[in-house]
Symmetry: C2
Subunit: 281 residues, 2 copies
């Protein structure tokens, strides 16, 4: 049988103010405001993840695509991953850049939406007897939130919990840095760090707060069957109230330097814990 | 004795085209071109590292500073770290943004210069009997090069070697992501990856190429007294010619996902190796 490429009836946009692509206008600035469940996916890898999530029919769905006209032919394989009722808009580079508000190297955008994440209690309640959860407290940098998700997926954490002061992982930049893992990793984002950790402790999670002042080196911990790894911000780290109440681990490093990047630190800690739990090949 | 703050005779710039601050104009675009040994340092942490390197009198020196007028008072402590013959220019936000070509959140810039890095042979020749070296091959992303240096410093590597296809670690963004470690970590950037590895092998370095297809998990290696850890690009990784000639290590992770961010991967591998070498507390 000869494979027939899906015919993509793309709609050309010639006016940056066209209402059909209004959701894509000024997306750099709009990263700073909420979007009521809608998000912008950028780049082929993230958009493939969006197509996969859409087809799986869960909390995430795709709404429309906007791509650079001269990339259309090369993207046919990715476009074919979306159902035919998802409109594909194309535009010349100058129009696309005028819509987005900056120069789009990648030239491929999608608008998606997702249902509100579950409450932390619901998410935690659904986890198995052997579970690994990554908790972020006060992670307001988009790159760092994206890194947390990329590493959570890479090291087989079951869920990510973010307190209400963390930024939204669906922000374009966070989503891109996560390489789309935000769309596939269960997460909740609500409440205070104290509240999240209390709920986890009640559900028999062993809580490890990561800090340069931690008592045990991360490579030496012998994890329980249910583990929550807690990360704070790069500058101030976790508050003393958390460090004093729970077990704490450190990543051995040179003294007198700024602590590690929080994304890198999460990768080192997740690798060590997940491996010690027997989750990695 | 009452401490007296250093009097900083700052010079106000009111015209973005003033030749005295010409090196700071359009710095975002200039990241793409060479600067003949000059570099732009950004933010208080990096600029403190520059002051330290300048005072130490090595390969790095400071030439001038350009700061936001209304931050001058708050930055007095950092300005005092520079000798009085380093001129300090100040400008209002609108002028400063016009000079830089984009909005400068941090509002503090410095121009530095550094002598050409040593040849790889010279650098390797000066290393001790117990040494750890990080090698980057084809790392063209500024953030990733910066991360390599931050992690090399954090995990006590003695030097960083970059092949000629890596981007310049003195680029503003790379320097910033390194948190200034580029200014304090010995490095060389020249020649091919093959040439660098040949030189290291001749000097009795055990060479570990990091790859998702590596034969040994990074936590299981028993490092020699001289170790070189080799990192490739995120997408394509290290070429088969390198993987087949040297020992290879992998970071255990979930299958079917994009490999880790190269900065994160370097952090995990350096932490494991440096710890196994007994270099970390």
């Amino acid at each position: 049988m000869i494979a027939v490429a899906r015919f993509t009836p793309a709609i050309e946009i010639t006016d940056a103010a066209d209402p059909r692509i209004a959701e894509f206008t000024g997306i750099r600035e709009r990263d700073l405001t909420g979007r009521h469940g809608q998000f912008i996916a950028e780049g082929t890898v993230v958009i493939s993840m969006l197509a996969k999530a859409h087809r799986a029919g869960g909390a995430v769905s795709a709404e429309k695509l906007l791509i650079l006209k001269n990339r259309q032919a090369g993207l046919e394989e990715i476009l074919a991953q979306f159902p035919e009722d998802i409109p594909v808009y194309i535009a010349e580079a100058a129009v696309l850049d005028a819509i987005a508000g900056f120069h789009l190297h990648r030239g491929v955008l999608a608008l998606g939406s997702r249902r509100s994440p579950p409450s932390p209690e619901t998410l935690i309640g659904g986890l198995g007897a052997q579970s690994l959860v990554l908790v972020g407290c006060g992670i307001s940098n988009h790159d760092n939130v994206g890194s947390l998700f990329r590493n959570a997926a890479g090291f087989r954490a079951d869920a990510v919990l973010l307190d209400e002061t963390c930024c939204d992982p669906l922000y374009r930049k966070a989503l891109r840095v996560s390489v789309g893992s935000v769309l596939t990793t269960p997460y909740a984002r609500a409440g205070s760090a104290d509240g999240l950790l209390r709920t986890l402790a009640e559900q028999n999670f062993e809580i490890w707060a990561l800090s340069p002042a931690g008592t045990i080196e991360i490579g030496d911990i012998e994890p329980a069957r249910r583990v929550a790894l807690v990360m704070g911000t790069e500058g101030e780290g976790l508050p003393a109230s958390i460090l004093s109440r729970f077990k704490s681990a450190r990543i051995a490093q040179a003294p007198d330097l700024d602590s590690l990047n929080v994304g890198t630190a999460s990768g080192i800690a997740l690798h060590a814990i997940s491996r010690a739990m027997g989750r990695l090949a």
